[in-house]
């Protein structure tokens, strides 16, 4: 039987506010345990929440970016459950009246599948603390620094039909929230976490199958793998005559399997009710429009402009516009060197390679956009070849300094003096009787390919500094003269 996969995502985005959603404690990452958990976060008796305007602003920004209706009136509710990292015994969240109503984003997979994914709603809520289960002689350790960190939970409609679409959707949300600057996008630190609701149904059937929820996936690659694994499990189960049980499952990347985490028997009864400590949040058009006026250029618009203005391919434009810091960097390189395609090749090529290898964010790149632009200028004006430029780049990365300084200090300037090149070419030809004979014996149209050997010899003799264009011309001219 042919199966269709149905996926909906719930993405938790940690907002990059300075303080918590309901208290004035800092949200900075990596502090000593419980040093950023104040009386409100600890739910000590008598404390009351005071709502952070910046969290509201960021949620509205997101809503505007996905073309959603903004809730002019939104209400916080209590979601009741017991867990030690939730000191109040409830999570303050929104349910019936969220800040962001229905919206949508357009996605495209690597294979070119395009789809509009509807967003059901997005709501504001608080994060819980962290439980550490190791090494406390049979006890669990609780760190409440994260408790009260503002989150926007973005709930999609079940509109995705493959794991690749789910990953593309998650990437798009990531691109939007980082472009807006409302989230640092650091998935390894948990700034963006994803729950995937997955079900399968026979192709053509309208009713949804029973879904399972895969919790807390924190990388795009794992979204794909977790869904693929779960889909295979569900199909095997059904084809063997079994039934999918609605439950929460955990994806184990080491074993590449999902396993049952807890049954929803009790957990489903959260007994939501409006939080009596918080009044309804009411905003007006002028508040919303003032925020709209501050929105930066969004990834889709930037991608379109990159194609239009710089003549980039759809793929290159998509990669470069997906992350705001990278897009900004790229545009600075273009401004500095005046060559959009060369800049794209270097930002996505050599620079990306070095950033990946050293696990460095482009914002912290040791080679600045101006410096990289300066290097590319020297490729364009034939001071150095592309190969030598890679060497210069490596030195810029490890030692710092401008391209010009390194080219000068290392003596890497390209030899463009034709007299000097001719002399070297003559020597190479004189020492390569065998290859010269082969060249002469070859069909004229095959000779072009045979230049490679001579080219290599000339480059070897000049330490790679000879201008490749000039060498090719001179070699061809001199060798062809021997053939006549």
């Amino acid at each position: 039987m042919e199966w269709e996969v149905v996926i909906g995502l719930e993405i938790h985005v940690q907002l990059s506010t300075t303080t918590k959603i309901f208290s004035g404690a800092s949200t900075a990452f990596g502090a000593e345990p419980n040093t950023q958990a104040c009386a409100v976060d600890l739910a000590l008796p008598g404390t009351l929440p005071v709502f952070n305007e910046n969290a509201l602003r960021m949620a509205v920004m997101f809503g505007l970016a996905v073309d959603a209706e903004i809730g002019k009136r939104s209400v916080f509710e209590r979601k009741n459950y017991f867990y030690p990292d939730l000191p109040k015994g409830y999570q303050t969240t929104q349910l019936a009246e969220p800040i962001v109503g229905p919206g949508h984003v357009d996605i495209e997979t690597d294979e070119g599948v395009k789809r509009r994914v509807r967003i059901h709603h997005a709501h504001l809520e608080e994060d819980a603390g962290k439980s550490l289960h190791e090494d406390f002689h049979g006890m669990s350790g609780i760190d409440l620094n994260r408790a009260g960190t503002p989150l926007v939970e973005i709930v999609s409609e079940p509109d995705m039909r493959s794991s690749k679409e789910a990953a593309a959707y998650a990437r798009k949300i990531h691109a939007i929230v980082t472009t807006l600057g409302i989230c640092d996008g650091n998935m390894a630190e948990g700034s963006m976490r994803c729950d995937c609701n997955v079900s399968v149904r026979p192709k053509g059937q309208e009713a949804f199958g029973t879904r399972t929820e895969l919790k807390n996936i924190n990388s795009f690659r794992f979204i794909e793998r977790a869904i693929d694994t779960e889909v295979a499990r569900q199909i095997d189960l059904i084809e063997d005559g079994g039934k999918v049980v609605q439950e929460t499952r955990l994806y184990d990347p080491d074993r590449n399997e999902t396993r049952s985490m807890r049954s929803k028997e009790d957990a489903n009864d959260y007994r939501y009710f409006p939080c009596p400590d918080l009044l309804p949040v009411v905003i007006d058009d002028s508040y919303i429009e003032a925020i709209r006026a501050t929105l930066p250029e969004l990834p889709d618009a930037r991608r379109a402009r990159f194609i239009d203005e710089y003549g980039l391919s759809e793929y290159d434009a998509g990669v470069l516009s997906a992350y705001r810091a990278q897009a900004d960097y790229y545009e600075q390189v273009v401004n500095a060197c005046g060559d959009a395609k060369l800049a794209a090749n270097w930002v996505m090529g050599e620079l990306a390679k070095f950033l990946n290898q050293s696990d460095t964010d482009i914002k912290d790149s040791p080679v600045s956009a101006e410096q990289l632009g300066g290097l590319l200028v020297r490729i364009k004006d034939n001071t150095i070849s592309g190969n030598i430029a890679k060497k210069v780049f490596e030195l810029m990365w490890s030692r710092g300094g401008s391209a010009d300084e390194i080219i000068e200090a290392e003596g890497l300037k390209q030899v463009t003096d034709t007299g000097a090149i001719e002399q070297i070419v003559d020597e190479v030809i004189a020492n390569a009787d065998k290859q010269v004979e082969q060249y002469k014996a070859a069909e004229p149209e095959k000779r072009g390919k045979m230049l490679g050997f001579f080219m290599g010899q000339v480059m070897k003799a000049t330490g790679g500094k000879a201008n490749p264009g000039a060498v090719t011309g001179i070699l061809k001219q001199k060798l062809d003269a021997l053939c006549d």
Binding site: A25, N34, V50, F51, N54, A55, F82, S140, P280, V281
Partner: protein, 95 residues
């Protein structure tokens, strides 16, 4: 609407309340009469009435995003039953 014994046991479990077996009949009766009152209120015609999230005729005040709390871990943990390496210790919980 009336509750039975198992409803009461379930509500107590969700609220993590330990209740005496012998009290269950009276709880069942009390809670049922509260629900009966609610049933009675439900009879009222509320068509066209906005649901009320809060009885106060006011909207939420907002706070500037500025740190106002300093580290007071020592005082805050002074009353905790068990602490280690800055963490609150609780009976082991495993998902």
């Amino acid at each position: 609407m009336s509750l039975d014994r198992s409803d009461v046991e379930r509500i107590a479990h969700l609220a993590r309340l330990q209740i005496d077996e012998s009290d269950i009949p009276s709880y069942t009766e009390n809670l049922s009469s509260i629900l009966n009152l609610i049933d009675q209120m439900q009879q009222t015609d509320t068509a066209g009435v906005e649901p009320l999230a809060n009885p106060l005729d006011a909207v939420l005040r907002l706070r500037d995003d500025v740190v106002s709390e300093s580290n007071q871990r020592e005082q805050l943990q002074a009353v905790a039953p068990a602490v280690e390496k800055g963490l609150f210790l609780v009976p082991k919980v495993i998902e």
